[in-house]
Amino acid sequence: MAKFRSKNSKKKVPALSTASLPDVVFMILFFFMISTSFRTSERVVSVILPEATEIAKLERKDLASYINIGPPIPALQAQYGTEARIQLNDAFSTIEDIRDFIAASRESMSEADRPLMTVTLKVDEDVRMGIVTDVKQELRRCSALKIMYSTRRKAAEQKGF
């Protein structure tokens, strides 16, 4: 059979060169470095976002500051209970802290970008509106008026187009 050559035959299949493997992996690495962002903060509240269809993408991620509202994660529930709480940066906060938080995130932006700042509210779907309304009122007082209710895309109704 022609396909089976003896070992001492002159034609040998050359070893597969792995010299370009690092290049390929580096390429994937750079792709990940560019397209992803670092996890900014550790969640101390658990948030399951509600679903919606009429959603818009956040254009500039660097201009967003996040307010998480939800019940504490299970590991912290013994200490903090299950009542919904506000998380700013990576600690539990109160309504009064929002003012400083907004001021700090304004400060970190360039002058031109400040009016474009978006506050993204990541609120658990079972949270009552009372606390959300308090946050919204406080944001109005800080004149951080551009907000976004963070939601998931509803899978079933995507076919509409």
């Binding site: 992996v25 397209s35 779907e125 949270v127 509106m129 976004m148 963070s150």
Partner: protein, 193 residues
């Protein structure tokens, strides 16, 4: 005297790169932020006497979600699936009924005069409303506005709103303004006592 430099073994380069790759895949996130964008009304000046803006009763539609997540729109209770049609009818007032919002002629730059509806949808909730129900209703309202805009765009430009160029989008926005106000919650429970 210089010894000839031997080849550096690059075989482990791939391992190093893989290590870096795994590190980046673990510590970064790729989720795109999506959500419903809204603009809050500015806080009224405290010194200023609150100007009771005279809004004709026919031009305002109150959408209320109560403590039990029940929905009331325009004074009657309804399931959420009916809300969109109700709001669309309210926004367009196709038969020019006297109990639905009036329209006023407005000169739109680059388009000409258009009968712009003066409709205002006021979304109200109580402190006990669940966030899920609130977003659901918010979503339906935004959808109603978007569909009316789409219809306008279809009629006048033959395209959906999203596909229009910037100037046409501005015209559509002027013709169908998104008058959706979010009031501070009314404490329904307290009032009843």
């Amino acid at each position: 005297m210089a010894r000839p430099a031997g080849d550096i073994n690059a075989g482990s380069m791939a391992d190093i790169a893989f290590l870096l790759l795994t590190f980046f895949m673990m510590v970064t996130t790729m989720d795109t932020e999506t959500g419903i964008q809204r603009r809050l009304p500015p806080m009224p000046d405290e010194n200023q006497i609150e100007q009771a803006e005279q809004i004709n009763k026919r031009n305002i539609m109150v959408v209320l979600i109560n403590n039990n997540d029940r929905l009331f729109a325009g004074g009657q209770e309804m399931p959420i699936v009916m809300l969109k049609e109700k709001v669309k009818e309210f926004l367009t007032n196709p038969a020019n009924l006297p109990n639905l919002p009036e329209k006023r002629e407005k000169e739109i730059e680059g388009f000409g005069p258009y009968m712009v509806s003066r409709a205002l949808v006021s979304l109200q909730n109580t402190r006990g409303t669940s966030y899920k129900a609130y977003i659901e209703v918010q979503n339906e309202l935004v959808k109603a506005f978007n569909e009316v805009r789409d219809e306008f765009a279809m009629q006048n430009f033959g395209k959906k709103y999203d596909l229009l160029d910037e100037d046409q989008q501005r015209i559509a926005r002027d013709a169908v303004p998104m008058n959706l106000s979010e009031r501070e919650p009314r404490d329904v429970t307290k009032r009843r006592r």
